[in-house]
Assembly symmetry: C2
């Protein structure tokens, strides 16, 4: 399992590629959520999401020769965008396999960064990426099930511990578990009294079911508005980390997610993708119990949202 | 003219009514604006704009008897909303005269706070408010041309000096001059090397023309997207303060304003009313010269924006 040292080394390695994003107080949401609300704004991160942290860490650990043959990824969008950016910065190429569920805004952004884009179904995307890597000699940078990725995403936890050392609760969205595995590792190491929770779509409750079963479970592919949280099975490497270090997992239904996204935009004045509002939805619906004096930090994971989706919030 | 002491006293007086809003780094806008971008988020203030600061300061300086007879204001929306909130908190009534140019979202918000709403033309709004005050015995709380109001708005300058003491440039939207007069007084007193600029709609360049003429000039009533910046003449009390303490004034055309509002939402991930983007527009269009190393803080004055306007940004 990754350790706090892995995350601290990642922070040093990726520093020239990422921003220390703002962690702000969002008092306007306090009365809605029943706690003291804080938001870690990874929607303001380079390429618009936290994914650059893991992508940069993984790419920087390759040899020069490996890097020169290009980077390949299967991604619901944000990881692909991050990797395209990293490849460009490092002077190499990126090929990104994108599932059909990803919104056009993400696909366009990846193409604009100079990467080759290949469309695929959600289920076949990893096989497709493997075939491309085999053909081209490129290296696959996985979106989450990788210790370098988890360590990179964990640098968010380092920043939270620095920016809000008396935080009581941290809530992150969860899909494959890279973000939650990394953040929980950092937060639990530095702030042992803080609680860390994950929130996932109730239509794809792979973590809730896997944690209950004590083993990785694959769930059916039902639709969700949370287009960055579409993974069907917890990662092999992320599962034991989340199992050991996370205090709880909640599954959020689609209506609650939409309400929370609306709240974040209209009251919080923050533009983020639907997936980023899932933690707020969890507290708003009473799925996570918090006290009025609790300082609760929500990781706002990304800002890739199209105008059609913004209009849906009206 | 108001002094830094007036503002410091106001800060103490209004503390229970207002938030110290976040001042965040917005690196995503650096490449667009050619400087180090910071934003003071008054769109996250109580009632959604900076106006609560002045309104609370003015209302708290009335006698108990004056307050009991009710508060009256003419306002393009945000001042009215702030005053309605203050009246409710203080257990008295508010009557708000709103110009026809104000968007429905602001009118609805005022009514929802329990205030009486009266519609009027922009030109007649102050006479209308005076008539209502005379009839009811209520006290008019002016939106800007008042030292208590200026001192209240100036508390934003105190916070900027505390949150970003090495700021090089502060840019605020300007309409009647309460915000700019207050902020420039605080910033110049505490950070004498910082520059302070105002930005106004080019369709209503009352400040640009008045400062050039050396006296208050009234401009014709042309339309602007900046519905919070509709004043036609600088205030009598605000004019000498702005004249003495502000480093420059720029007039921004409507297309530039729309581009900046889009930039703030799509790249800055901040939801604000159009008027709040006018300072960003000024720098984006090269109307204010800034250097790449300059720390430039934009006062994001309010967040009252309807979904029709958000859609217009698409």
């Amino acid at each position: 399992m990754i350790s706090i040292a892995d995350i601290q080394q990642a922070a040093e390695r990726i520093a020239p590629f990422v921003r220390m994003t703002p962690l702000i107080r969002l008092e306007a949401l306090d009365e809605h959520l029943g706690c003291q609300v804080y938001a870690k704004l990874e929607n303001l991160q380079v390429t618009g999401s936290f994914k650059i942290r893991g992508a940069a860490n993984a790419a920087l650990r390759l040899s020069d020769e490996q890097r020169a043959c290009g980077l390949v990824a299967a991604s619901s969008g944000n990881h692909g965008k991050a990797l395209a950016h990293v490849a460009k910065k490092l002077g190499t190429t990126a090929t990104i396999v994108i599932p059909d569920t990803a919104p056009a805004v993400k696909v366009d952004a990846i193409a604009a960064l100079g990467a080759a884009v290949v469309r695929s179904s959600v289920e076949e995307r990893f096989e497709r990426a493997a075939a491309i890597a085999a053909e081209t000699g490129g290296t696959i940078i996985p979106p989450y099930d990788d210790e370098r990725i988890m360590a990179g995403q964990g640098t968010i936890g380092l920043e939270i511990a620095e920016q809000l050392p008396d935080v009581d609760v941290v809530v992150t969205p969860v899909s494959g578990g890279g973000l939650l595995g990394g953040v929980s590792t950092a937060v639990k190491a530095l702030l042992p009294n803080a609680r860390v929770y994950g929130a996932e779509p109730a239509t794809r409750p792979r973590w809730t079911e896997s944690l209950k079963a004590g083993t990785r479970v694959t769930v059916p592919s039902h639709p969700t508005l949370a287009d960055a949280l579409v993974t069907l099975t917890p990662g092999e490497l992320t599962f034991p980390v989340v199992q050991a270090r996370v205090d709880g997992m909640v599954a959020v239904d689609e209506e609650a997610l939409l309400r929370a996204a609306r709240l974040l935009l209209t009251e919080g004045k923050i533009l983020a993708e639907y997936s980023s509002a899932i933690g707020i939805a969890a507290v708003h619906e009473g799925l996570l119990s918090v006290r009025p004096e609790d300082k609760v930090c929500f990781v706002i994971s990304g800002g890739s949202i199209g105008f059609a989706q913004i209009a849906q919030l009206a």
